[in-house]
């Protein structure tokens, strides 16, 4: 994977013309002349499309690890995707026990516990209920986690931040299903459980379930991809990835959290005093310049569009600011409309690099008035052991030869 990735990166740089005009300018590469006028017929129509054979962009995962690849993650190539929707085939993955193969004809969702009428729904029955489509990001709480302890200067945006993706999801509000079952007024929590080998489970406060949680079956107009929970997953807009339980088989209405392994041993944030924060569900506002970014090389004097994404689990992004002089000044980036709540928001900033070494970064503010903090400020409060929920500013260091590296510890 490592090799394939650097190969695709090299190919990407060499064939700049196929990519954004910005990078062509940044790299000053001239495209080779197009082949002669086509005289042969192209391919016939086909039942299911696939990308051009010239495109090699891929998810990244570390294969040199003693941890089984079923208990692993793969990361979205944020620097090689456009706009705000992540192609389903490039959506990040995080599985605890592999991707199960579930037949939608036999898979069911059971809702039971503190309800008047426990019910089992087939996938088809769920599709008959009033549906909703919403564009939302999902981010793993472990995204950018390596930066708490310094990260690596060699690292790039995909490896550091690739555990966030954004899709259009279609499904049924959980509140519709819970009303259908009649919830006991004493109920305060709902346990969500998957049908994967390890039966991944998380306890979710009832309030979130009634507010905006959904059981989704659609992703970007198609059924969910198996890696994203086919045929059913829980969607908790703005809440840490693993609480959006994939391969959803069961919702148990309860009056306490189950205290499962994934909400005690994992996904809890260890503080400097040895205490740990639990149920840190909401993802705070975050932004990253995705292109150009770590691993790219700038050309002095050439026009270069800085672009990236911003998102918040608490509402809508209202502004993104850019610094290209190591934080001395900040200027507003342009936000691509529509700017949607709890969704990736694309920003752009026209720039010319003057050839001097510097640091560039983005910071965003959301509709609650919260501004993305510097990583150093998060570390001041939370120390370096918390492992999850890093939404600190990503600094990219630009050397005088134009090379961009991770500047978080520069």
């Amino acid at each position: 994977m490592q090799n394939e990735r650097s190969r695709s990166r090299r190919w990407f740089l060499g064939l700049g013309a196929a990519w954004s005009a910005a990078l062509v300018a940044c790299q000053s590469k001239t495209a080779s002349p197009p082949p002669a006028e086509p005289r042969a017929l192209g391919a016939a129509v086909s039942p299911y499309g696939s990308r051009s054979k010239f495109e090699k962009t891929a998810r990244y995962f570390n294969q040199n690890t003693k941890v089984p690849l079923e208990e692993a993650s793969s990361r979205t190539p944020l620097h090689e995707t456009y706009g705000i929707i992540t192609p389903s085939s490039l959506h990040f993955e995080r599985h605890h026990s592999g991707v199960p193969e579930l037949d939608p004809a036999t898979h069911t969702l059971t809702i039971h516990g503190l309800v008047g009428r426990p019910l089992v729904f087939s996938v088809d029955e769920l599709k008959q209920l009033p549906s909703k489509s919403r564009i939302h990001f999902i981010e793993c709480s472990g995204n950018s986690g390596g930066e708490w302890r310094g990260g690596s200067t060699e690292s790039d945006v995909q490896r550091i931040h690739g555990l966030t993706s954004c899709s259009e999801w279609t499904g049924v509000p959980v509140s519709t299903l819970l009303r259908e079952c009649g919830v006991d007024p004493k109920a305060t929590w709902v346990l969500a459980e998957g049908a994967d080998a390890s039966k991944h489970d998380r306890s979710i406060p009832m309030k979130k379930m009634m507010d905006d949680a959904m059981v989704v079956y659609g992703q970007n107009g198609e059924p969910l991809r198996p890696e994203q929970g086919y045929p059913l997953r829980l969607l908790l807009p703005g809440w840490e990835g693993n609480s959006n339980v994939k391969w959803l088989r069961r919702l148990k209405v309860m009056n306490e959290p189950a205290m499962s392994r994934e909400e005690t041993s994992k996904y809890t944030d260890l503080m400097p005093d040895g205490s740990a924060r639990q149920f840190t569900f909401e993802l705070e506002a975050k932004s990253i310049i995705t292109r150009p970014s770590g691993g790219d090389t700038l050309v002095a004097g050439a026009f270069c569009e800085l672009t990236g994404i911003a998102w918040t689990g608490r509402g809508t992004i209202v502004s993104v600011e850019i610094t290209t002089d190591a934080g001395a000044t900040w200027a507003k980036a342009e936000l691509q409309t529509p700017v949607l709540p709890i969704a990736h928001t694309r920003f752009r900033f026209p720039w010319k690099w003057d050839g001097k070494d510097t640091v560039m970064a983005s910071r965003c503010t959301d509709s609650t008035g919260y501004t993305q903090p510097p990583l150093t400020e998060l570390i001041t409060v939370r120390g370096m052991n918390s492992q999850y929920h890093n939404n600190g500013i990503q600094a990219w260091k630009v050397a005088s030869d134009g090379k961009i590296t991770n500047g978080n510890r520069a």
Partner: protein, 198 residues
């Protein structure tokens, strides 16, 4: 559940956050209409679960022990289960890996090199039983008998010095185990930046 709430309160008091929790968890209950139960179904979709099938998937265990299956085990019996079914991945004493470290790390949480293990970090013994029962052994989950789960859990707790070799774990005794880090968890206080300076 009164007991669960009391337990959460105890956790909170341990770290001086009683107020947050007292206003936090129970408040969730008041945020939606108590009239829901009275409603009749709107769409008439779905069917009642088959009790036997529901029992098969209703596997979760709460800190009060609800959901534990009948059975029992000891660390003495668990040594055999552990050696056959766990050791290749977690090491002879739970500290060698290659997969997750299960034992040790006592007193390390507030240091620059924290080791989060069952003994140093996990707040509830019921979580251990539940997790072994639902997810372990990693490559053959849900293949242990309830007695084997009790014994494997007992052995992991024994490796952490939490139970003795002959202590019998069952539905009644397992939830009563006081885990060393039982009071180590606090509720989410974010947003915690910008830092408020006095």
């Amino acid at each position: 559940m009164a007991t669960a709430r009391k337990r959460l309160l105890r956790v909170a008091q341990g770290v001086g956050l009683a107020l947050l929790v007292a206003q936090g968890f129970p408040k969730v209950a008041q945020d939606f209409s108590p009239a829901v139960l009275a409603q009749s179904p709107t769409f008439g979709v779905g069917h009642a679960p088959n009790p036997a099938l529901l029992q098969q998937i209703d596997i979760d265990v709460t800190p009060d022990g609800k959901g534990l299956l009948p059975g029992s085990g000891t660390a003495a019996k668990g040594k055999d289960v552990y050696t056959r079914r766990c050791e290749t991945c977690h090491g002879p004493t739970g500290t060698e890996g290659p997969q997750e470290i299960l034992a040790g790390g006592k007193g390390s949480l507030a240091t620059p090199k924290p080791q989060k293990t069952v003994g140093s970090y996990w707040p509830y013994a019921t979580t251990l039983w539940d997790y072994i029962n639902r997810a372990m052994p990693f490559d053959h989950p849900s293949t242990l008998t309830p007695d084997e789960v009790y014994s494997a859990a007992a052995y992991v707790l024994f490796l952490n010095g939490v139970v003795g070799e002959q202590d019998v774990l069952n539905e009644a005794t397992l939830p009563k185990i006081q885990m060393p880090n039982r009071n180590g968890f606090v509720t989410d206080p974010r947003p915690d930046t910008p830092i408020k300076r006095k």
